[in-house]
């Protein structure tokens, strides 16, 4: 008995982690999947109902708006974060004075919660007392900036705040990537007469392909999960113009008590994330095995 215990001790110690994740991650996802095939309202029902919730979901105007918003947000969020991140990383890589201080400034938003960020930006973008008033005071009297309360433009305020929060993170990833490149490569290229621009554009950035890939995966992941920022900044409004899937899911479940429909929307989000993450994990694993 004692012998057995000693031999299996590592597995026993491992058991809580595996058990908890097995139950709370895999078990729960299966439960959600099952519920998405039932006609559950306030309380879960366990009678199967087929794909009814999914067809209801894709016929819902609010869900379609959420998906649209997610696509717009993801595209802009990705482009701005990556462009700003790369730019700052390259510039910081030029033996800059006070690099540490600048890096700290670029990255500190990552330490704040999206609720804090959203609260701050909500005040800044406030159409009466915020940026609009600042610019009017500078003498541009006809300047208006009402994106926060404008149905067409409100989604872009979420992009502004989201990029502010996450661009520094991309900068950190790329800076670490650039720093890991050997100096000799850059020197050799310079001797061959390559300009600094060419060195980065033709040599260093192509070498950063894994960093691009990682940033892409993480940013898409952040944007699919966006919830807090929208709640703090617009609550999905004006109207439903800035709803996104994560917000749709919780509202449908906890305010509208449509548990089945909400589970269906959660599974759609899960599949979207899985489509990005599984190839990523696969390639990471292959890279590790190759080492």
């Amino acid at each position: 008995m004692l012998k057995w215990l000693e031999k299996n001790l590592p597995k026993i110690v491992m058991a809580p982690a595996v058990g908890l994740i097995g139950w709370f991650v895999y078990g729960f996802i299966l439960w959600t999947l099952y519920i998405s095939f039932t006609n559950s309202k306030i309380l879960p029902k366990y009678e199967l109902w087929g794909f009814g919730q999914y067809s209801k979901l894709w016929a819902s105007r609010k869900w379609l708006i959420s998906v649209d918003n997610l696509l717009i947000f993801t595209a802009l969020f990705l482009i701005f974060c990556i462009v700003i991140g790369i730019l700052l990383a390259i510039f910081l890589d030029q033996k800059i004075r006070a690099e540490g201080l600048l890096r700290t400034i670029y990255l500190y938003p990552m330490a704040l919660s999206f609720i804090v960020t959203g609260t701050a930006w909500k005040w800044i973008l406030n159409p009466t007392l915020g940026i609009q008033k600042l610019v009017v005071d500078w003498g541009f009297e006809n300047f208006t900036f009402d994106w926060l309360v404008n149905r067409e433009m409100a989604i872009y305020t979420i992009v502004i705040a989201g990029v502010w929060q996450s661009a520094g993170f991309v900068m950190a990833l790329f800076l670490a990537g650039l720093r890991s490149v050997e100096d000799e490569i850059i020197k050799a290229a310079k001797i061959d007469g390559a300009s600094l621009f060419t060195v980065y554009w033709k040599i260093l950035l192509p070498m950063m392909r894994p960093v691009f890939f990682t940033s892409f995966v993480i940013l898409v992941h952040i944007s699919i999960k966006s919830y807090d920022l929208i709640v703090a900044l617009t609550q999905g409004g004006p109207g439903i113009s800035t709803t996104m899937p994560a917000l749709y899911m919780t509202q449908t479940a906890f305010h509208k008590s449509q548990v089945g429909l909400s589970a269906a929307s959660a599974m759609m989000m899960f599949m979207a994330v899985a489509a990005v993450i599984i190839p990523y994990l696969y390639s990471e694993l292959r890279r590790e095995n190759a080492r």
């Binding site: 994740i21 729960f28 996802i29 007392l129 807090d228 994990l281």
Partner: protein, 300 residues
Amino acid sequence: MQDSLQSTYKQLEQKSKYTNIFLRWFLYFILILFASYFIFPLYVMIVTSLKTMEEIRQGTLLTWPSALNFDSWAVAWGGRGYGAGDTFLKPYFWNSIKMVVPAVFFSTFIGAMAGYVLTKWRFKGDKWVFLFLLFGCFIPYQAILLPMARTLGVLGISNSVIGLVLVHTVYGIPFTTLFFRNFYVSIPTELVKAARIDGAGFFKIFFKILLPISAPIIVVTVIWQFTQIWNDFLFGSTFSFGEAAPIQVALNNMVLSSTSVKEYNVDMASAIIAGIPTLIVYVLAGKYFIRGLTSGAVKG
């Protein structure tokens, strides 16, 4: 050969000296421009929190307050003292502390153990077990929200700090395991093998050999978990309301509560109070914070 290379290099450097001076200025200009974009909201938050509402209406976002006025901070922290309907952050701040400390401890401990086994007591299929756990880092939590709400209800710990401790411990395990596993993988297994030959057991090896050299990864993990859990809103707002709510939920409720007059100075003071613990950690231990960010995301 070496000499001629050196001189070509020198020549090139000389030639581009003037372009370089111009480029340097441009470089600093852009860097400072972006620095102001990142600093701007923090500056606005601080000055707004120090102004009176009168000053806020008259000035702009950037105007400096006429006097350092900490009234809104006092209101944000301790309320106005008129009882019902008076929401302030103090009790929720303590809720968050009561939630963060045990959740960080348990998830770090479980992750350390898992990382130890996965690297130093390898067994058949351990790679798959790691992948099994790792997947938990990436799931959108919406996919587990409904069953979690039910489970907490069944266990009788919905709307309580204990419930949130459980939730954060569980969903922290994939990250903590990842951190420790990647750290222990780089430590030579020979150390452990030698100790095993000397008759040291499973726990002795962990506490006597690995734990003493684990300080850096413990710091990274604790900072990561602290920041994640302190900043969480989704779990907090879904599984708690009223008195058990953590600070982010309380902050959001305070800002959204529709009183007749919107007090932006109190809002900003509240936001700073909710953000200050993680900001302090970031300023004091930024290096470890960044290491957590990059390895939590990239995996080392």
